[in-house]
């Protein structure tokens, strides 16, 4: 018959084994460090999951848009969901390209329309519900699904927080 001590020890060993064979053994992907956590920028909260797509699977995320990124030399794309003040849903994508030229070519391919151009990264465009900027080989895209009066400023603040995390 197993004692309480034995049962506890076995549980611990089982948990340790599970931990080693699953999530705990995984390294946190480098892209995870590019996304500010919930406590880092006032008003913003982030879902814990960060999804990262290798070039070969990029179309799973952005369908036919992937072709353009592949031509421009995308290395990976990571995405996280945010909420601003618990009501505005925002998706942030960070595309890591092989070079700054790749990020620039994507950025330049998109019509500026009536964008504002705040000081952010190497170049940026701000719209009422979206922000896009590039810095070195990184292209960052932020899309909000609702409008709100404070959103422009809030997106800029989150954008600056991401910018400081981009290497280089």
């Amino acid at each position: 018959m197993m004692t309480r001590f034995h049962r506890t020890t076995m549980r611990f060993m089982l948990m340790a084994a599970l931990c080693l064979t699953s999530g705990c053994r995984k390294h946190t992907p480098p892209s995870a460090n590019l996304f500010p956590t919930s406590s880092e920028v006032a008003g913003w909260s982030r879902e814990p999951e960060i999804r990262t797509f290798a070039p070969a699977r990029l179309s799973d995320y952005i369908d036919g848009d992937a072709e353009k990124y592949l031509r421009a030399g995308v290395k990976s794309a990571s995405t996280a969901d945010y909420q601003y003040k618990d009501k505005t849903q925002v998706v942030v994508d960070v595309y890591t390209m092989n070079s700054s030229e790749g990020a620039k070519s994507i950025f330049d391919s998109e019509p500026a329309m009536d964008a504002q151009t705040p000081t952010l990264g190497d170049a940026s465009r701000l719209y009422s519900q979206s922000l896009i900027f590039r810095k070195g080989p990184f292209l960052v895209r932020m899309v909000a699904y609702q409008e709100s009066p404070q959103l422009l400023q809030a997106m800029l603040e989150l954008g600056h927080a991401i910018e400081t995390k981009l290497p280089g």
Partner: protein
Amino acid sequence: MKRFAEKTRRDFLKGCAIGALMAGAAPLAFAEDKVLPPGVNTKSKVVIARDPSLYAASATPDSARVLKLLDQAMQNFAESPDPVTPWKKIVRAGEVVGLKVNTIAGPGLSTHPVLVEAICERLQQAGVKPGNIVVWDRTNHELERAGYMLSDDPNRVRFIGTDAKGVGYDENVLTYGVARTRLSNLLTRTCDCMINLPILKNHEGAGVTLALKNMYGVNNNPDTLHHNNCCPGVADLNMLAPIRNKFRFVIADAMTGCFEGGPGYRPQYAWKYNGIMVASDPVAIDHTAWQIIERKRAERGLKTLADAGTPPKYIAVAADAQHRLGTNDPSRISLVEV
């Protein structure tokens, strides 16, 4: 894996007739229209119903107005005085009806749940049991993000992605032209027929994505069909028997459209078109969508899709003598705007 030989069009029509006789089923008016060679007996009808107050001051369309708009479009298409009769021309009461939505772009530019709700209401009034309505797309994740609550309860309308446990892609590899692919079991095995519920969108590769291109959410390797502006990929994919045979009707969500930067959601390139488009001819409705997007691009000072390097050339290929999926000839399209 088993490979199916594709049927010829004649075999397909013969099969439909025999199947209908064996089942003792009444013919379906719209389903028959779509398999006629384009423009032989009649024009392909495309109806666009629009309501400028659809969104009012809200971020989401008003549900009562959406139902009314859907009825306007459907009744006009079927020339029916009541809102239920048109659905009886599309589906039979005992069939499992698939509603193929488009949710890849997230909540900003996906088939609105409020439209799906309205369609489900009318289908049930036409005699389809709730559990025989399957709302589906590629993944559970995308469905949830677009605002759908997943459910596989057989007594309720089902909402499910192909990647859900126990679903997946059919083991049979189908081929036609450049398409060599496996299709969702939801189409091949679960559903008896499909109503296509795409979004009015620009597509950076194909130029336009509406009905025909929405089928890239049905197969397991859409990435292999994107080269050369998705041509002939889109047309070839739509020739595969399960897609061609089970397709019944298109109800396009054109409440919010996208004229640039698609298929993802770029709010700066989206606009409120406030419309619902319906047709039984997927080529005719795609051709019509193309013209709408071109007009909007011109209004916003953008190049034509051809000049931008993304002509939707698959539309003409879908209409050619080899594919004959519908007509892209404007003289054979009866466009009705209500």
